[in-house]
């Protein structure tokens, strides 16, 4: 009779290990590490395919098993012998298995409690309209911290982060403003107060772009700018 194991039934590496120990009918306190490790690794190969989410945990235990195996094969170094006398490399694992087993054992009983309770149904419909303009009760009016967290997460997700990626096409280009500036200068006999020029502009962004255009024109040597004092009036002049 071929054996078939339902892999999804294993709730983690310890569960699998306990299963192997039981299946092989070996003493939990004297685990034949070599054989159990071999079998464990065979299962892990399969689990890797099926239980990707927890594959790491299965592999971690595989590594532990291999380490224990290696430790048991090695002759004890004198130093080690001094430090931990009689320490079996398997002890920690056994302890972990027993601790896990404690809780695993009672899940069956808890499942029975659950089963039994599911045969009983409480009332689900609450609709108390007491006289006109009275409340219609809503049930479970309180929220949990988890629900608060849930709402927080949803709000953050819902909101497109406008503040960070606010991309907008400028209504004007530096090129346009260079042309505009030169035309204005021509209109005003080649001389213009910067602030007068700024007054003609409607938006802040246009002022900024115009300023860039101004710098561009200075670099090209087409205009020059003079200021009589700090914070004083800025004169823009056409260079001939």
């Amino acid at each position: 009779m071929p054996y078939h194991v339902k892999l999804e039934n294993f709730d983690g590496p310890l569960d699998l290990l306990l299963f192997l120990i039981k299946k092989n009918e070996v003493d939990l306190f004297n685990i034949p590490i070599a054989e159990i490790t071999k079998q464990y690794l065979e299962y892990v190969d399969l689990i890797n395919i099926l239980d990707l989410e927890n594959a790491g945990d299965y592999i971690l235990l595989a590594a532990t098993l291999i380490r224990i195996k290696a430790k048991m094969l090695l002759p004890k170094s004198p130093i080690e012998e001094d430090e931990e006398v009689e320490e079996d490399p398997r002890d920690e694992l056994v302890r972990q298995l027993l601790e896990y087993q404690r809780f695993k054992e009672i899940t069956g009983d808890m499942g029975e409690l659950e089963e039994e309770r599911r045969l009983h149904y409480p009332r689900r419909y609450f609709d108390f309209t007491i006289g006109e303009d009275e409340y219609v009760w809503e049930t479970k009016g309180d929220y949990t911290l988890f629900e608060l967290m849930s709402v927080f997460k949803d709000v953050l997700k819902r909101k497109p982060r406008v503040t960070h990626h606010h991309v907008e096409q400028y209504p004007v280009t530096a090129q346009e403003q260079m042309t505009f500036l030169l035309a204005e200068l021509d209109k005003h006999h080649g001389e213009l107060l910067f602030y007068r020029m700024a007054e003609m502009l409607t938006s802040r962004i246009t002022v900024i772009v115009t300023f860039i255009a101004l710098l561009e024109l200075i670099r090209d040597g087409k205009i020059e700018v003079t200021q009589s004092s700090t914070f004083g009036e800025i004169w823009i002049k056409r260079r001939k």
Binding site: Y3, L7, Y121, E134, Y135, L145, S150, T163
Partner: protein
Amino acid sequence: MKSEEIKHIVEALIFAADNPISEKNLRQLLEDELNGSSVTDIVTALNQEYMNSGRAFYIDTVAGGYQIITRPEYAVYIKKMYMGRVRNKLSQAALEVLAIVAFKQPISKADVSAVRGVNSDGVIKNLLERRLITISGRGEGIGRPLLYSTTPEFLEYFGINDISELPKPREIEELFKEGKYSEQIVDALANLEEAENPENTEEGSEQNGDDQSTENQAE
């Protein structure tokens, strides 16, 4: 089936329904067992019993069907029972604002609104009145805006002792990050499993050294 038995099934169904249950629905659930008897008669009989034994509830006939409700004379007590809760029930908007204040406190009104993308002044006022949030200081920015934080009442509502016990945004993100397989899939598999093999003990799975035909649920 005896008519007494049918009566009690009808009672159980009306009792446990999460909405008024229609006669048609009751008939479907009882399949053919109802046969000759009339649902109306059964309900009348039940109500007669309730009346005779002075029960505090009765079965009412509403548009959608039957529902079991308490007699009006007890309304005053029930109202008292629910009153506090109803008053405390937070709207979705309030819950959102509360969540933002809780996990980003201290925070200004403008920042709350910015996160939600909706003006939240009204909701904030409401939460202030309920004493779930409070003004806790002023920010550094332009105009030094008022900053809001949660109150001890807030902690009580959510059953924690101290503001430091509130999860950090990083922890929230961690909690909600999606695994490769969502829990629902795992659950679904487990249930499938159960349906196929009510005993999930491994008894039958005999070992067989090399024969690794660990085929998924063969059978």
